[in-house]
Each structure stands twice: as structure tokens, then as C-alpha cells.
């Protein structure tokens, strides 16, 4: 710890803390533009200058480490004058005219800084130079004329998303932000996560959907959770007049720390599916709008006689994108007194069944994504994380320049190939041989961190080479890298879990122990799961394969999920189909009854992410008039069939052992 004095106030901070952060801890605000708490200090804007006793000139506090006995002043008349001068210089560089800028009026940090310094005008007028505007990107516009060259976007792109698309070209006043080697943004390597837009302090990066739709400063953001995939990113939803204006990453989010991917940030903003606004019942071959009473009556009349018929009765399937409240009610209704033969989820346990079956015997063994922060090697098996779980991919990509190594082994060529230190392609279905082979090599070479007896190591290695089609030297290289890492992490995806092999999961677990990925408090073995509530569906036991076999009716609870062609194809055969959905799809087209329900943003609900965090999504929008909450609809059906439900999801998810600690 070091002690210093700022504006006469005694402060103690850990060594290495910058003066800017030390001041913030003490409640002293130092104006700044280029600083961002999630980014490494850059010292670009010079607005945070302070006076330090014994220093010849004022110095930027964002890059100045606090030292023992330092005496700092932040609000002297000379500093105020200097800050005004710094701002005057910034305003004189480019087009910072406020009346035609979309962030003016509260959202512009440059304008706010000028207000803070009580600037009523610009002492120096601009130079009237034109800088490039790039409007080739589908989600945002880059206007270099509004740029103050703080490089937050450049740093966010590299340090946070690990993508390194943005950089700066030219020098001095001619500097501009460019993508790659100065190609249009829309044709660049940008992965469209929008983090650059979220960190831009001025109107240089403009979000297309929310531009000119009112100031963020006048909207209270609502904390919620993204339901795009199992990562469970925390979001801030900006809503105005019952309309989603923008989605931003929540910097305090425990999993994503402010990051979002294209799907989380923009998919809900560009939703183009047609909403279902009335219950529909098929009459004379045509779906016709009816009252809720009629639709629910039709469903109850059809389903009730089929209750208790465990074979040819009802098959029920629910989306893993539905909140746990709905999933739990669904399970209770159809698996309880109703005794439906098949009660499962749209993922059919492909990403969870084997893992949870192993946990049933072994207890929780999976870790938290946080382990990636300290990992020096990540092994990805059967997982194209950068594309399937993008934000988890960012956590990996951004660790690579800091020295983390990445090994990817996947039956599909090209997966993580550009990023991995070693990318290998194994034969489909050879994963067990692969994992056993890696273990055998490590044991044979005496590289294991824990003792493991493998008398038949030589045979296992031979078998691995034969089955995977990977040459021995490459397998050995992978094994040595894995064994040589101090804090390795093993991530595995659907490619592994879809095999439904408990043996394979157990083998992976013993590999993790052998190389120290799992030891004492550290759990560096994680399955990526699939959709937002894969874990909840698994906890509720909604993980059986969905195979129709003479069932007389199917109930499909889809919510606002996308419907796969595979599911539609399988449900064509259903003699009677009830679909509960928010949007029209090929599935609703062939349904006998369609029940319109809320989307994720229209109803409160909980989601359990891939590493066991129970998170709440808030209701921020009011849906169309005839649309109902997806849980309430199931409750109504239960009531009409005279099968009361308790609807206690918190109890329901505790009936099965989780594969990770829930929190």
C-alpha cells in the first residue's frame, strides 16, 4: 500500500494504482476523455492533468502511478486554465458542432467536459478540414470528423474483444481511425460486437438503430440478461415509449464484464419475424383467429383424454430459450400427473445429458468461465467457441496476446485455426480415443501432475493415432503443451456432449485432473452448453431425445426462439400440434392451435447460464394486447385440465444434482 495526498485528503491505495484511480476511490473526480475503467491507461487526451509537488509541469494522472508521500492537486486555477486549453485544442481540430450531432445533450463526454470547465465558446475556431466517414457497416457509422483520437475504440477492439480490427492511420492532426489496412468497415474483419460504439465518448461512432432517438441520459437503463446463448451476458436495456432503443453490455456483468456479441447487441434490434397477435385454431384447414377462451378450451379438450397414456398420448417439447419459470411449469404439467411419454427440450440434452449424468454420480465438477482470466493454456474440444459462444470467444481471444496458448482439436477442419497455436482435426467419433491417447502420452512421458496408472498406455496411444488420424508427433505436441501449462483450462462443446457418452466425459475429467486443470479449488473443465437455459432444462431433466412414435398430439412451447428446420420436419408427422410461440414460423403454419406468448423482454424470468449463474431477465416491454406470458398460458391449461401445478421452480431445479456450483 502507498499513502498519498490528493487535494489535502489522505488516501491509501494498493501499489501500482494510478493517481486517477486513487482520486476516484477518494471520491475526487478528475475530468478525462480517453480513460475508460475497462481499458488500459493511454494518456491521450491530457484532460486529466494534475499538479504534483516537486514535478516541474502538470502531468496526466491516468498514466501516473501513485507513489509514497505524493502530494497531488487537481483543481488549481492553473490546471483549470490548462484543461480549458486542452479542450479548446480538441474543439479546434475537427467538426464538433453540437446542433447536428446525435450525442449532444447529455451523451457526449466531450460536451460534458466543456460544460464542466464552464466553457461558453471556443477560443479557437475549427480548421474546416474534412475527414472520412465510413457508413459501410450494417450496425454503425464511423465519422472521423467527430473523433477526438482517444483510441478507446481501438483499445476496446483489441483489449476487450480481442479482435484488433480498428487502428489508427496517419499522424498528428491527420490521424484517422481505420479498419484493418484501411478497408471499409463493412468489408473488414470486424465481428460486429459493437463494443467500440459503446465506449466512444463522442459522436464519432454512431449506432444506426438508436441514432437521433433521444438521449441515453434521459433513459433509465434496465439491467437484464441476454438470452442469445448459454454464456448469459448481463445487458442494459434502453427502453423508451415501450420500444427497445438500444442494448448495451453491462460493465458490472459477472460473466461478460461489459462485452456483448453481434447477436446479443443487435439481433433483438433487427428482429424481422412476424409477431403472432391472436390465438389461432385450425378450422376447415385454415388457421383462424379465435378468443383465448376458445383456443385454451380446444387444447384442454384435446389433451385431457390423452393424459395418463404414457405411450401414444402426448409428446411435449420446450425451447431452452424459455425462462426457467416456464420450463419448470412445462415439466410439472406434462411429466407430472399428465404422464406424457416424451417431455423434453428442443436441445434434447445434446449439450448437457452426458455431463449431468456424470454429475449425478460424481457431484459438481464443472468450473466457472472466470478461470479463463488466469489460464495460460486453453484446450477446446468439439467447440467452435469463437462462433458459437462469441463472448466466451472474446475472453479467449483477448488472452492470446497476453501469452495464453490455444489448442483446438475438432473433427471439423478450420475451427479456431487462425487463432490456435495448435489446431488439429480428428476423425468424427474418435474423441474418446483422442482423450485417452493424450492421457497415455502424458503418463508415458511422466508429465502428469497427479498419479495415474495406465498399464496399457502404449496400446492407447497406438489406438488414438489410428482412430483420430492425427500423427503421433502432433498428438504428442498437444499432450506436452497441455501438461506443460501451469493453469490449463479445458472447454468442450456440442461436438463432445452430443455423443451422449458418460465415459467420454469421465475420461475428459480424468485428463483435467492429470494436467491440473481441475485441482483443489480450481475447476478448469467447462462444457459450453447451448442456448440460454440449457442448464435449467438439464436441471429439470428435460434432456431426453425427441423421437415421435405414434403419439396422438404434440405440445411445442417455443417462446421467442428460432425454430430449426429439423424440428419442423419431425413435427410434420404429428396428428395434432399445439404451438406456443411469439413469432410466426414454419412450425406455427402447420399447427392446429397457436398460442401467442411474450418475448424475452416482455416477461420476467430466470436463466441459468453455462457456469451455473442464476440470472434474472426483466420485463421491460409490454407485448401486443392478446399476447400472454408463457408461464401463465401453461398454468391456464393445467387449470382447465384440472391438474393443479405448484409452480415452484426454485424447488424444481434442486431435484437434480447440478454439474457445477449454482450461484
Amino acid at each position: 500500500m502507498v499513502q498519498l495526498t490528493i487535494n489535502g485528503k489522505q488516501i491509501e491505495v494498493p501499489e501500482g494504482t494510478t493517481v486517477l484511480r486513487a482520486a476516484a476511490q477518494a471520491g475526487i473526480t478528475i475530468p478525462t476523455l480517453c480513460d475508460h475503467k475497462e481499458l488500459t491507461p493511454y494518456g491521450g487526451c491530457r484532460l486529466c492533468i494534475v499538479e504534483v509537488q516537486g514535478f516541474r509541469v502538470p502531468i496526466a494522472s491516468c498514466t501516473l502511478p501513485a507513489t509514497q508521500g505524493m502530494v497531488v492537486s487537481t483543481e488549481t486555477e492553473a490546471l483549470k486554465k490548462s484543461r480549458k486549453f486542452v479542450l479548446s485544442m480538441l474543439f479546434s481540430e475537427r467538426n464538433h458542432f453540437c446542433p447536428f450531432c446525435q450525442v449532444s445533450g447529455g451523451d457526449c463526454e466531450l460536451q460534458n467536459a466543456a460544460y464542466h470547465e464552464e466553457m461558453t465558446h471556443w477560443p479557437m475556431q475549427p480548421g474546416w478540414n474534412n475527414y472520412p466517414v465510413d457508413s459501410t457497416h450494417p450496425y454503425f457509422v464511423l465519422d472521423n470528423n467527430r473523433c477526438i483520437l482517444c483510441r478507446r475504440c481501438v483499445r476496446a477492439c483489441g483489449e476487450l474483444a480481442g479482435n484488433f480490427t480498428l487502428s489508427v492511420a496517419e499522424r498528428g492532426a491527420a490521424s484517422i481511425i481505420i479498419a484493418d489496412t484501411n478497408v471499409p468497415l463493412g468489408e473488414s474483419t470486424c465481428i460486429k460486437c459493437g463494443t467500440c460504439v459503446q465506449v466512444c465518448p463522442t459522436g464519432a461512432l454512431i449506432d444506426r438503430t438508436s441514432a437521433y432517438q433521444g438521449n441515453e441520459a434521459q433513459i433509465t437503463p434496465v439491467k437484464s440478461v441476454c438470452v442469445g446463448c448459454s454464456v448469459g451476458c448481463s445487458v442494459n436495456l434502453l427502453v423508451r415509449d415501450n420500444r427497445l432503443v438500444r442494448i448495451e453490455g453491462d460493465w458490472t456483468g459477472p460473466v461478460n464484464h461489459g462485452l456483448l456479441c453481434e447477436h446479443g447487441r443487435y439481433d433483438p434490434m433487427t428482429e424481422s419475424r412476424q409477431r403472432i397477435t391472436s390465438p389461432l385454431v385450425r378450422k376447415n384447414g385454415q388457421l383462424e383467429p379465435v378468443s383465448w377462451d376458445e383456443a385454451l378450451g380446444a387444447v384442454a379438450d384435446k389433451l385431457k383424454p390423452l393424459a395418463g397414456d404414457a405411450h401414444t398420448g402426448v409428446a411435449a417439447i420446450a425451447s431452452t430459450r424459455l425462462p426457467v419459470e416456464t420450463l419448470s411449469m412445462f415439466k410439472e404439467l406434462f411429466a407430472g400427473e399428465f404422464k406424457a411419454h416424451i417431455v423434453t427440450s428442443t436441445e434434447e440434452g445434446m449439450t448437457t445429458a452426458a455431463v449431468f449424468a456424470v454429475a449425478e454420480r460424481m457431484g459438481a465438477f464443472e468450473g466457472k468461465l472466470d478461470v479463463l482470466r488466469t489460464a495460460d493454456l486453453t484446450l477446446c474440444l468439439g467447440a467452435d467457441i469463437v462462433n458459437s459462444h462469441m463472448v466466451a470467444g472474446f475472453l479467449i481471444k483477448r488472452a492470446l496476446p497476453k501469452g495464453m496458448r490455444l489448442v483446438s482439436i475438432n473433427p471439423q477442419a478450420g475451427v479456431l485455426e487462425d487463432l490456435a497455436d495448435l489446431a488439429l482435426v480428428n476423425q468424427p467419433g474418435s474423441d474418446l480415443s483422442l482423450v485417452e491417447g493424450l492421457k497415455a502420452i502424458i503418463v508415458k512421458e511422466g508429465l502428469g501432475r497427479t498419479p495415474l496408472a495406465l498399464p496399457n498406455a502404449a496400446r492407447l496411444i497406438e489406438e488414438a493415432v489410428r482412430a483420430t488420424g492425427i500423427p503421433l508427433e502432433k498428438l504428442t505436441q498437444a499432450a506436452r503443451m497441455l501438461a506443460g501449462a501451469i493453469s490449463p483450462v479445458i472447454l468442450f462443446g456440442k461436438g463432445i456432449t452430443a455423443q451422449r457418452s458418460e465415459h467420454l466425459i469421465e475420461s475428459l475429467h480424468s485428463l483435467a485432473i492429470l494436467v491440473g486443470a481441475v485441482e483443489r479449488e480450481r475447476a478448469g473443465l467447462i462444457s459450453m452448453k447451448g442456448e440460454a437455459n440449457s442448464t435449467a432444462a438439464a436441471l429439470l431433466g428435460l434432456d431426453a431425445p425427441f423421437v415421435l412414435n405414434g403419439q396422438q398430439a404434440v405440445f411445442a412451447a417455443i417462446g421467442d426462439d428460432y425454430v430449426s428446420g429439423r424440428l419442423v420436419k419431425r413435427l410434420v408427422k404429428a396428428p395434432y400440434l399445439v404451438v406456443q410461440a411469439a413469432y410466426q414460423s414454419k412450425l406455427t403454419e402447420q399447427a392446429d392451435v397457436v398460442l401467442p406468448v411474450s418475448t424475452w423482454a416482455e416477461q420476467e424470468g430466470h436463466y441459468i447460464n453455462l457456469d451455473g449463474r442464476v440470472q434474472k431477465a426483466e420485463k421491460v416491454l409490454t407485448g401486443p394486447e392478446a399476447v400472454r406470458d408463457s408461464t401463465a398460458v401453461l398454468g391456464e391449461i393445467a387449470m382447465r385440465m384440472n391438474m393443479p401445478v405448484r409452480a415452484d421452480w426454485q424447488q424444481a431445479i434442486r431435484e437434480r444434482k447440478p454439474s457445477m456450483a449454482l450461484n
Binding site: C98, F100, G105, A114, E118, T120, H121, W122, Q125, W128
Partner: protein, 180 residues
């Protein structure tokens, strides 16, 4: 003591700042009580008294030779000069044309605009003032108080006029300081 005299005029602006002045509603009577409102673009008297006024208020930037004359005349006749609104203070929206130049802006407006008839020309009557780059007032004549805003709120205008009429120095900060 005689009431302080206030005069105003507009140049390259949209008259919005004067509209905002009227937006102060009944408080304008208070201003009239405190000060002698002389020439304004919305009263009969169009030029500040040759004998001088205490406060001169100018809306709009300066984008031609006629505006230059207005600014110089007001500066010469007013003890205190107030630049009212973003155009007067910064150049404002009309300053956008500085990024392409006067020539290109005139050509776009008078010749190339989709609504123009074929054969349209840039007006060139010798009696017309000569267009210049759009400037903030302080680039042409010294300004005593810059009151930004697009337009400045009626509250801000009332505060500034009331302070000046009572011989005090208005200080724009916090809620009173907005550039648009």
C-alpha cells in the same frame, strides 16, 4: 437613474433565438420594466440608437459583408455585446458549409438542388452582399458575453438580460450552460 437600453439584431441565424426570447412569456414584462427595449428585428426600430445602447444582443453568425456591417455597427454602439445562440457563438449550423466552401454550397443550393429548374444560376446581382466563410461573432468583433444554445432556453436569456439590466455580470454554468 435611467433604465439601461437594450438593442438586438439578427444575422446568419434562423430567428429561433429571438423566438426563444419571446418564449420567456410574461417575464418579458419584467425585462421591459428593468430595461428600455430599443431596436430589435421584431419591433419598429430596426437599428440600435446612434447615441448608443447599454446592451447589444446579436443572433446568428457572420457569413456575408452585410452581416459584418451589422456586427460592427452593434459593436460600435453597444457598451456590452452579447452573442446569442450557437450560430453567434460558434458559427452553428450555417458553418457546416465551411467544410465544403462557399462556392460549392451556393452551387449545390442554386444550381444542383433536385427542386431547381434547369438553367438556374447562382444569384449575382451586384447589390447583393458578398458571401464569406461563416464566422462566429467573436472572430469579427470582440464579444463580452457568449450565450450558447440552439436556441438558448428562455430561462437562460431571461437570466442574462435581467443580470445585465441590473448591472451584474451573468455567469453561465450548470443548468444555464447548454450548447444546444
Amino acid at each position: 437613474m435611467a433604465k439601461p437600453k437594450i438593442a438586438s439584431d439578427w444575422m446568419c441565424g434562423c430567428a429561433g433565438c429571438h423566438m426563444s426570447l419571446l418564449d420567456m412569456d410574461e417575464r418579458i414584462l419584467k425585462v421591459a420594466e428593468l430595461a428600455d427595449l430599443r431596436a430589435t428585428p421584431i419591433t419598429d426600430l430596426k437599428e440600435p440608437d446612434a447615441s448608443g445602447v447599454d446592451v447589444g444582443v446579436l443572433e446568428g453568425g457572420i457569413n456575408n459583408t452585410a452581416n459584418e456591417e451589422v456586427a460592427h455597427k452593434m459593436r460600435a454602439r453597444a457598451k456590452i455585446l452579447v452573442a446569442l445562440g450557437d450560430c453567434a457563438v460558434f458559427g452553428g449550423v450555417p458553418a457546416m458549409r465551411n467544410f465544403c466552401g462557399v462556392e460549392a454550397a451556393l452551387k449545390r443550393a442554386y444550381v444542383e438542388a433536385e427542386s431547381n429548374e434547369p438553367g438556374c444560376e447562382i444569384p449575382n446581382d451586384p447589390e447583393l452582399a458578398t458571401m464569406t466563410q461563416t464566422r462566429a461573432i467573436h472572430e469579427v468583433v470582440p464579444v463580452d458575453y457568449n450565450v450558447p444554445g440552439c436556441p438558448p432556453d428562455a430561462d437562460v436569456i431571461f437570466y442574462v438580460l435581467a443580470e445585465l439590466a441590473q448591472g451584474r455580470k451573468p455567469e453561465l454554468k450548470d443548468d444555464l450552460l447548454h450548447w444546444h
